[in-house]
Amino acid sequence: MNNSKTTKRKCLAAAFIITLLFSIFLSTPQSIAEVKEEQAKIVVVYTSKENEINEYQRQLDMLLGHFSKDITFISSAEVEKKDLENATHLIYYGQKKSRLPETFPALLEEYTGPFLAIGYNTEQLGAHFDFIQSHGEIAIDQLYFTNDPNTLLNASYGKAIKVNIKGNTEILVEATKGYEDSIEPILVKNQNHYYFAIDDIALNETIFLGEILHTLFETGERSSSRPAYLRLEDVHPLVDPVPLQEIAEILKGKNIPYMIAVIPVYTSPQTGEKHYFSDSPALLKVLKQMQKDGASIVLHGYTHQYRSSETGEGFEFWDVENNLPVYASSDEEFNLKEKSEFKTAEEYEKYMDGLKQFEREYIQTKLTRGIQELVNYGLHPLAFEAPHYTMSQNGYQVVSDYFSTYVGQVQLSDEDWRTMDGTPYISTPSFLNGMELLPETLGFIEEDNPNSLKDIQSKSERIQMTENGIAAAFYHPYLGSEGLYDVLNEMERIPHLEWIDLKQRDISVQADNVSIYTINGEVIADVKNGALLMTSWDFSMYHIKGFLKTAIWGMAILGGVAVWLFVVFTIHLQTRSTKMEG
């Protein structure tokens, strides 16, 4: 009896353990989702100004990146039959009204999968979008889900395409239209075909579009949790370690994993003097403790400045003065030559390649140095965030050679750094060349701006319109703990919040002699220490100085022990001689 009972129990326990192991290996929701993502092959055919990819396509890219890593953008002027062959999901983005090639409808004829059309030119897509009829541009005010009229968001550009729907077409998103008090269909569905009636899209549009895309991509039951992160911003060598530590303790007490955006060099705006973390041992100690307590380090540029401006205020990877990528050294006057100044197209291309090569090397040098310097201090950056979120497309390509994860918002066009936006979901857009984007969606507390908390609130409400869009904010630690509590309170109000721990994600960071990656939530830093120390005298000096400091303390302590010993000896001899005399 007893025996059989124990055997039974053992069997049960074994079965339980096996099931547990299997569930860990096989059935984590993430891995299932990944399998699905791998399967989706999205082809986006777009029509734009001069048929080049611009910020609107990239906005779409960021959204689609949530559903698949396999996204191909092809201009409607260049698309061929073979481009669509393996597509599981087809999207047409008619951002500009245009005459599509005659052959176009024939290309789409055989396609039967899910199809999303955005903007103009739907009538040229064969019979696919017969269920709508477009009637030119109209002004709109606010968008909302048809099934929940409380979900109002402003239309980013206040315009849409007027459409009439036919047959068995469902309206999923509508727009209000100012004083006319009329309602316009914006996102409609007919079987597996979807149409979105706004040509220029931004974050607000992708909130609506994104929610509906979950159905289109059949992502199945979505988890109820909402990913979130908090990033401590602009932590440079002159940051006061006291409030930082206070904040670290609050976050540790709340068991919140968070990120620290670290800038390795602070350049004084007055003197131009450079300060390094090695000059601020107290701060470094706090940062290391934070990292040990679960915080993740994010490299936030190397100096956070390009031309002489204060660290944390300046741009590092964008020449704001010329509103261009960094094409020349900071002390040089730079004027971009126009295409017309060149005799041939090749000459112009060669010129541009040269500039891009400069930019590439500039970013490479800074990233390599930034990663190596932090690693030398024992800080392990797991992601990158460009200063002021500004960087060219070329820049993101370079970053992707070093980092697997990008944090923040993204500059979407090389024409203007202000074309910067976020996206509601964690994503791997194609233009980030494989990097995972953890978008920032809530903003930050701005000093002397009484409305900044309200801004965070409204952004939080916006992101809560999505099922599991990311809630992410950043905070400047020099503002102290009070403001942090404001932000945390605001965020913790969001239901089902699940704090992102970068260490739990699939991270890989590469630079010369440094390789950082994560395994099961653990950060592994594979560093060729000898070679790393050889790359810069400063790296060796940091350790030599550390050793010297320890040695000197050791000397003082040993000296103290000797002093104590001599006092004891003296007392011993004195008492002995008194005894002898007595």
């Binding site: 450079k274 002390d331 000096m541 040695a551 000397m555 000296g559 000797a562 001599f566 004195q574």
Partner: protein
């Protein structure tokens, strides 16, 4: 290439400043380590000195209990114009507790122009164990080594002891030195302790008193305890005649005959024992001027030894001597250099901010360094009866800032003289003038 200019072109000056600051840091750390290696070595020696102060009495007991025969001892006292002090010295010889048939006191009246000879002759007539050797040119005026060699020729003892003419040994001193050698066959020489007879004369002699006690307990006793080493001083020591015979007596050409003799004893495989039970009292300079000359001579002698042996180290048969040579090297070059550098950094840092990275620990080091000095000296004083007094304690505090700091100027001056001597090849001249104008340290009696 172009990239590099982005970083460095605008910050060239700053880069240079950074180098200067780095350099200052480097110098400071180097000097600190040099200084502290020395401080720790001293602390280490002091611990040895403490243990020896507890232990040497065992050896003392061993000697007192063995009722064996006394060896024949010849005491050599070189005297050049010592009429002021020689009588007192002779009297102390008469008071010695040693069988007079086993003892001969040979006073070498070395070319004196005063009444030294007459005084010695008077006593020699009265006491059979006192002998006078009067040197006349060409065998006279060759310095202490020459006088000692003259005395050695006239002596018959198996053990040779040496006293300066201003010394008054305690009655048991010779007994301890001679029986010590007899009971310790590995000892080539037996070194006693000297005390300052005019300690209470003025502040200078009080400071010298504190210094000599510390030196003997720290350097002599400490080295003996840890390494079985001690340096033969100019006075109050005994050495086996066999050794002197083998090496041909004292080297009359040597600059510092004591150190030379010590090294030669080591080379023969003997050690030199420090035995504090054998006490002599001697006079110390009472004016700064005399003190300065005397110390300059010692410092130059030590500098000479470093020069001579540093580059011929491989020839030394007993590698133990290296401990002493490196000690001298450290004291006179590295420690001295460290002190100068750290003082220099301190001064420059007052004028311009060097942004030294050392921080508060430097203050801790200053305090611990001072406390080490204070406790070491106090420990040494506590080894003598009635020396660790409140008055002496206050003096030690005062000493750290004054007397000890004079050592820096002394070494600087001695180094300057030595460099000059080497550059202008003044060797021979220096030796003779110095010996004659300032014959030893013994013409300043109370």
């Amino acid at each position: 290439m172009a990239i590099r200019s982005v970083y460095y072109s605008s910050s060239n000056q700053e880069y240079k400043n950074g180098r200067v600051i780095l350099m200052a840091d480097f110098i400071l750390y180097t000097s600190l380590f040099l200084i502290w290696i020395m401080l720790f070595y001293h602390a280490f020696l002091m611990i040895g000195g403490y243990f020896h102060s507890l232990k040497y009495r065992e050896f003392e007991k061993k000697i007192s209990t063995t009722g064996e025969e006394f060896p024949k001892v010849s005491i050599l006292i070189p005297a050049h114009n010592e009429e002021v002090v020689i009588e007192e010295t002779i009297r102390s010889m008469i008071r010695l507790h040693y069988p007079k048939d086993k003892l001969e006191v040979i006073i070498v009246n070395d070319n004196s122009s005063d009444d030294t000879g007459k005084i010695v002759d008077r006593y020699a007539k009265k006491y059979s164990f006192i002998h006078a050797v009067h040197t006349k040119p060409p065998h006279a005026g060759k310095g202490k080594s020459g006088a000692l060699n003259q005395g050695l020729l006239a002596s018959t003892g198996d053990i040779i002891a040496v006293y300066d003419a201003d010394n008054t040994p305690e009655p048991d001193a010779i007994r301890y030195l001679a029986l010590g050698l007899k009971n310790d066959p590995k000892a080539g020489a037996m070194v006693g302790k000297f005390r300052v007879v005019n300690a209470n004369k003025n502040i200078l002699t009080r400071l010298i008193n504190i210094e000599t006690l510390t030196f003997q307990w720290l350097a002599q006793a400490g080295r003996w305890f840890w390494f079985k080493m001690a340096t033969i001083p100019g006075t109050n020591f005994a050495i086996r005649r066999s050794i002197l015979d083998e090496i041909g007596g004292w080297d009359e050409k040597a600059l510092s005959e004591d150190t030379e003799l010590s090294i030669r004893v080591y080379n023969m495989g003997y050690y030199i024992r420090f035995f504090p039970a054998a006490v002599t009292w001697e006079q110390e300079p009472e004016t700064l001027k005399v003190w300065w000359r005397q110390r300059t001579r010692w410092a130059r002698g030590n500098l000479y030894v470093i020069f001579k042996y540093l580059f011929t180290m491989h020839k030394l048969k007993n590698k133990k001597v290296l401990i002493d040579i490196s000690y001298f090297l450290f004291t006179y070059y590295l420690f001295f250099g460290g002190v100068l550098l750290s003082h220099g950094i301190f001064v420059v840092n007052l004028i311009t901010d060097l942004q030294l990275s050392i921080g508060k620990i430097s203050i801790a080091l200053l305090i611990v360094g001072f406390l080490l000095f204070l406790t070491e000296v106090c420990l040494a004083l506590s080894m003598e009866k009635h020396q660790l007094t409140l008055k002496n304690f206050i003096l030690v505090l005062f000493m750290y800032l004054t007397y000890s700091q004079m050592w820096i100027f002394l070494v600087a001056y001695a180094s300057f003289l030595e460099v000059k001597r080497v550059l202008f090849k003044q060797e021979a001249k220096w030796y003779k003038t110095q010996r004659f104008k300032q014959p030893a340290k013994n013409n300043h009696s109370a």
